[in-house]
């Protein structure tokens, strides 16, 4: 069993998967264990302002003398919770609607697909900004906004797959022994969708991270002083000319690394789950 699990990483794409998992798990652990890793509070002055990176403050300090490393590891909690809750929201709604739409078909399917396609072609961040602007900028609304804009991503994939699976023999068999629609959808179709959902999820998590950071950068996520990577970067804008590079470099690097971690997982999973596509 153990060798079978390890074998996954030796397949084509396994390298990407392993690299992605290492990045994502490291960042998750850093944020979960923030209290253990850093002795500093993320929202209190711990030294002079603008200390460059040193042993004591590996990512330096900001204008208010807060330790940037502490702000970043604690900020990971904000980013991760927004992104995880938002993707769960879009995944569950998108999957449910896609499954029903694809299975039921007809007018409902055409109508839903049309609405979903319309949202899908729209620039996601602009929609997210509009939603948070209307609902008010706070963490719950950021989750709702990001959750809504990515519903079509899951919907389209799940609907397409459902159409394919619906036509297969085992579904007909299930129907002939008297299984009702709900049972067929949940028991027979849904499990077959899981690999696709997994791939869409990891690519989508990367998008969601970038969108969350974008919202925070524009000031529509958590209110200060709660640490959040995108927001740190917005503050950093003021210090381009002063040369306080650590206020810009580290927060943005974390956003990019985390997004890249998920994108690598998605890329690896795609290779592993669709070996035929690879040439």
């Amino acid at each position: 069993m153990k060798s079978r699990i390890l074998g996954v990483f030796k397949m084509r794409g396994g390298g990407f998967l392993a690299a992605g998992l290492i990045i994502v798990i490291t960042i998750i652990l850093l944020s979960l264990l923030a209290d253990v890793i850093t002795p500093y509070s993320p929202i209190k002055r711990v030294g002079d302002s603008f200390i460059p990176p040193s042993w004591e403050h590996p990512f330096g300090t900001n204008k208010l003398g807060m330790d940037m490393f502490a702000r970043i590891v604690y900020g990971g909690r904000t980013v991760l919770s927004v992104v995880i809750l938002a993707t769960i929201l879009s995944m569950s709604i998108g999957t449910a609607l896609g499954l029903i739409s694809g299975y039921v078909g007809g007018k409902l399917d055409r109508g839903l697909s049309f609405i979903m396609d319309s949202i899908y072609v729209f620039p996601s961040l602009i929609l997210a900004i509009a939603i948070t602007a209307v609902l008010g900028p706070n963490i719950i609304n950021a989750i709702i906004a990001i959750g809504i804009i990515y519903i079509p991503t899951y919907f389209r994939m799940v609907r397409g797959q459902t159409l394919q699976i619906k036509a297969s023999l085992f579904i007909e068999a299930a129907r002939s022994i008297g299984a009702d629609s709900l049972r067929i959808m949940v028991k027979y179709i849904l499990p077959n969708l899981l690999p696709t959902i997994l791939v869409v999820f990891s690519m989508n998590a990367a998008d969601a991270i970038l969108t969350e950071a974008g919202l925070a950068f524009l000031g529509y996520s958590v209110p200060p002083p709660t640490p959040d990577w995108g927001f740190e970067l917005q503050v950093g804008v003021n210090y381009i000319l002063s040369g306080y590079w650590w206020l810009i470099f580290f927060p943005g690097l974390m956003v990019t690394l985390l997004a890249m971690g998920f994108a690598l997982i998605g890329e690896g999973l795609t290779d592993i789950l669709n070996p035929r596509e690879v040439t």
Binding site: S118, V121, I131, G214, G230, L233, V237, G252, M260, E267
Partner: protein
Amino acid sequence: MGKLANYLVVRSLLAIPTILVLVTLVFILMRLTGDPIAAMVGMKAPPEVIAELRHKAGLDLPIHEQYIRYITGVFTGDLGKTLLYDRPVIKDILDHFPATLELTIYSFIISVLIGVFTGTVAAINQGKFEDVLMRFYGIFTYAIFIPWFGLLLQMVFGNWLGIIPIGGRLSAYISPPPFITGLYTIDSLLTGRLDAFFDALRHLIGPSFTLGIVLSGSYTRIVRANLVDILSQDFITAARARGLRDSLVIKHALKNALIPVITLMGLEFAILLTGAVLTETTFSWNGLGSYLVDMIRNSDYIAVQGTVVFFAIFVSIISVIVDALYAIIDPRIRY
């Protein structure tokens, strides 16, 4: 010819329901909170002021009349007046749009050039180190956080090396060229203002490379995938067998591999606009993205609604153009 014209007409008509759905969604969204005016002026404002503003924005009408007025407005180009400055929203939008257009055009060219180059390198070195490297490049650029990358460019090339300006569209000591298209690089060339042309170009380097590099990864992937596919087809083998030089064979294959790139352009366009909002904010680029962000800060919901509607229509029009291009290039796609 008749068939192509038919297709184009049908495709253009199909854009109308899409626009209608998006515009309706924006309408519903903007009314979710109930009273945007109260949110804007705050609770302390005297009731007469609120009533006056509500009347001006048409918010005292029944909801279905508001909707009809709004939809007629959208299709006649009347997006209302900004709450704050009482200017027509459409005028503000058309003032800011050329800056966004100029930025997106340059970024687009950069992303396609880099994408085609890196994708070709990956495909002809399939399975080798270069291939893995380019694949990694695709994933990395996909994950780049635009403000981070933009600020790093500003810091390194703007502040430390002093090669590019930190932000803005034009230096303060250069007067903007006369308005023709609103695109500085084009207007300055048309009026022979070389000083403004080179200055505008220098200001474009930072933002357009930021956005261009971030978007190039998707082109890398699709060019690689198509080229790999085409290089294994019979007509390429035949060309090789006839002794065609390698560079010619690749040119041959590349021409065919670029057709799907056009489809990607349509899909990428939404991402391009999303990226433009962040790039504009990062580089103090006075385009539509910056305008939207400013208006949200002012809680000017009429301006926000108008700008979002404009983006929706713009995206729909672009997708029609992309489909038309595709139909012209590839004769198989016609009804």
